[in-house]
């Protein structure tokens, strides 16, 4: 198990990582999700031992490894840029960590063969990296990380430079590869959809802090706060400030929304509600409960439409099935589906978790 205990990192007076505590189990896949500059790479460097924390400690299998340099830890890293030895064949690239470790020839042959098979590189072992596609080059880098048999494998946006479809394929393969090795995997990404496709656990990062850590789907469905919910939404989360009065949330212009049963016990007052774009639907504008919004942009993907609307000064995105050609500045009826509604207090803490705590 890798454990970070209250780890902080300050660089020339600027706090890059603030009091992060995490426990990552053997054989687990852990996603670090956050925008650029949220601290993902810095946190990985601290985990690897490439950097030393300003305060706090790092523990590996019960041993304090704070300050132990990367060479003396069992760590493999894969970066966004494909890093291979250009003059060596794919075979020699994959074999290199084993050669450095002085492994016997037979072991090298066997392990390289297995890793190549796993990453579908067997036909390319005699080529050099520059004769390969981007996806194959990155698979070579991944294979090298795997033969190293490290206890901790860190992947820093490894698919970001690949084509969309290649990403889709490698992303489906990675969890299988991960679970076969038994190492602790840490995977950094800026994309919420990538975290959901990978599964495992997710830690959301914002401004150097881990805002939540748990099974990926749980963090997505039950965020503890608004920052986590926003970090984990693509398209962006829709939000609006409301007033709870009895069984209704009051919106603008006399519009109201029924309070879902699980929030009935909340005291009356001001809240922020959040809902995903696919929980906002088109509705006949004269229907009861329909909210009226102004269309700002429509984007059509072929099977679905992203309809951007303005509701009383709030910019929302609606994801509706089918093709809807709406004109800009049209007024449309919309409805918020409340079955997956997120409710936060005015400071952005989840009202659901407040209730559970009470």
């Amino acid at each position: 198990m890798l454990e970070l205990r209250d780890v902080s990192k300050t660089v020339s007076g600027e706090k890059h990582i603030r009091g992060v505590s995490l426990k990552l189990e053997q054989g687990s896949l852990n996603v670090l999700l956050g925008p650029t500059l949220s601290g993902k790479t810095t946190l990985m460097r601290l985990m690897a031992g490439l950097d030393k924390p300003t305060s706090g400690s790092v523990w590996m299998d019960g041993e304090d490894v704070t300050g132990v340099p990367v060479q003396r830890r069992s760590v493999a890293m894969v970066y966004q840029q494909f890093i291979n030895y250009p003059a060596m064949t794919v075979y020699e690239n994959i074999a290199s960590p084993l050669r450095v470790a002085g492994a016997p020839a037979e072991t090298i042959r066997k392990r390289v063969g297995e890793a190549a098979e796993l990453l579908r590189l067997t036909p390319y072992l005699d080529r050099t990296p520059l004769e390969l596609s981007g996806g194959q080059q990155q698979r070579t880098a991944l294979a090298r990380a795997i033969v190293k048999d490290a206890r901790l494998v860190l992947l820093d946006e490894p698919l970001a430079n690949l084509d969309y479809k290649l990403r889709e394929e490698l992303r489906a393969e990675l969890p299988k590869i991960f679970s076969a090795t038994g190492a602790i995997f840490v995977y950094a990404t800026t994309e919420p959809s990538e975290a959901l496709l990978l599964g495992g656990n997710t830690a959301t990062l914002s401004e150097g802090q881990v805002t939540q850590f748990g099974p990926t789907v749980d963090v997505f469905r039950k965020p503890n706060d608004l920052v986590t919910a926003r970090t984990f939404s693509d398209p962006p989360l829709n939000t609006v400030e409301v007033e709870k009065k009895g069984e209704s949330f009051l919106l603008a212009e006399g519009d109201r929304l029924s309070v879902p049963a699980e929030y009935n016990a909340l005291s009356d007052g001001r809240y922020i509600i959040g809902f995903q774009p696919h929980h906002l639907r088109l509705k006949a504008s004269d229907a009861a409960n329909a909210l009226r919004a102004r269309v700002t942009v429509t984007e059509i993907t072929g099977s679905e439409s992203f309809i951007h609307v303005d509701y009383a000064g709030n910019r929302w995105v609606m994801l509706e099935e089918g093709v809807h050609r709406l004109d800009v500045d049209d007024t449309v009826g919309i409805e918020i589906e409340t079955r997956h509604l997120l409710v936060f207090d005015i400071d952005g803490r989840s009202a659901g978790s407040l209730q559970q705590a009470a």
Binding site: P35, T36, F220, D234, P236, E299, G302, V317
Partner: protein, 361 residues
């Protein structure tokens, strides 16, 4: 703005090409209409960047001509073509302010200062950098710098076309939404001819009125997002557009029935061709999972938040279905297909069905 004609363009990077395999662009013959928003979509190596470079004048095609509003520009260099370009990585002058960066292409063309000022203010508001107008570009984030690149591409109203080469690749997901919507809005307001190169289907489909799908140096389909989704003309389009891509099942066809092992699937009409390597294509969105239909073995259910992807096998063939986030998957799962969305492919190309209006590709 201009209409752009690509007249029998071929391009090879090696001298004296002999066969088709020597051409990075095998043959492109197409017109981009004045004021259209187009995306060139395909994997790396498909020829989309080669085609963009031919339009911009960075490359001279080995064969064929390129016309802007009917004028042959094949031999004209980039600077004589009057186009604006936005690249993957921001190109900004660090020592200039945001305002000066945006004014640069206009001042270069000798536009009068009062028009420069009016236009730059408009653009700054559009890209949301009002508060940064007087800042040097140097200290800005990558997102902000790319916004300047986009803004500069849009600054001149008299360009023939604006070309975009993967402009949002380096941008964080949240900002992508914002920039994409702004581009869309700008196209609507000013009617520029825009050509946008990307490997990202979401960007291509949401940006363009017409998407040009390229594969191995050829255009395999040009269509609206709906056409590409509902009626892919080539299995590559079925695979490349959609996540997961279209299911392809090997079948034998007789009359209006397709057969795979013991499973018989009724087609919406009789296909006009029934020989060759036949595959039945159905998108995961049109496969439903329930208690009736064809029995399947469910291998895996992936919860991806707003939807679930069910991975199953039917007659030993992998098949994916996309279902609602709250959908229940029964123990004895069956799948059924929305017949209106079945497509038949012979040797990878879509076969027309009886009753369909034939149209030239």
């Amino acid at each position: 703005m201009a209409r752009i004609d690509l007249d029998n363009i071929r391009h090879a990077y090696r001298p004296e090409p002999t066969g088709d395999e020597d051409y990075a662009l095998k043959r492109v013959h197409h017109t981009f209409v004045d004021g259209g928003a187009y995306a060139l979509l395909g994997p790396s190596g498909c020829g989309k960047t080669t085609l963009l470079n031919i339009i911009s004048g960075l490359l001279r095609p080995s064969e064929g001509r390129i016309l802007f509003n009917g004028n042959n520009v094949t031999d004209l260099p980039t600077e004589a073509r009057n186009i604006a370009q936005v690249f993957q990585f921001p190109v900004v002058y660090d020592t200039m302010t945001v305002y000066e960066n945006l004014a640069f292409p206009l001042r270069n063309r000798g536009v009068s200062e009062d028009i420069v000022d009016k236009r730059v203010r408009e653009i700054i508001t559009m890209i949301g950098l009002e508060e940064r107008a007087k800042r040097k570009a140097q200290g800005l984030t990558a997102d902000e710098k790319q916004k300047i690149s986009l803004g500069r591409g849009l600054a001149r109203a008299d360009v023939n076309a604006i070309l975009f080469d993967e402009p949002l690749t380096v941008i964080d997901p949240h900002m992508k939404w914002e920039l994409r919507t702004q581009l869309k809005e700008l196209h609507r307001r000013f009617g520029y001819t825009m050509v946008y190169v990307t490997h990202d289907q979401t960007e291509a489909l949401t940006f363009a009125d017409n998407v040009v799908v390229m594969y191995e140096g050829e255009i395999v389909q040009i269509g609206t997002p709906e056409e590409l989704f509902e009626r892919p003309t080539h299995t590559f389009v079925g695979y490349f557009i959609g996540s997961p891509g279209m299911n392809l099942l090997p079948v034998e066809v007789s009359g209006q029935s397709a057969r795979m092992g013991q499973t018989v699937i009724e087609l919406p009409a009789t296909p006009k061709k029934q020989s060759g390597k036949l595959e039945l294509g159905i998108r995961p969105e049109f496969v439903s999972v329930g208690r009736s239909g064809y029995p399947v073995k469910v291998d895996k259910v992936e919860d991806i938040g707003r939807r679930k992807i069910v991975r199953a096998s039917l007659e030993g063939q992998e098949i994916a279905a996309v279902v609602d986030e709250d959908a229940e998957i029964p123990a004895e799962a069956h799948v059924s297909f929305d017949a209106a969305h079945l497509n038949l492919y012979a040797n990878s190309w879509r076969v027309e069905m009886d009753g369909e209006a034939g149209h030239g590709a």
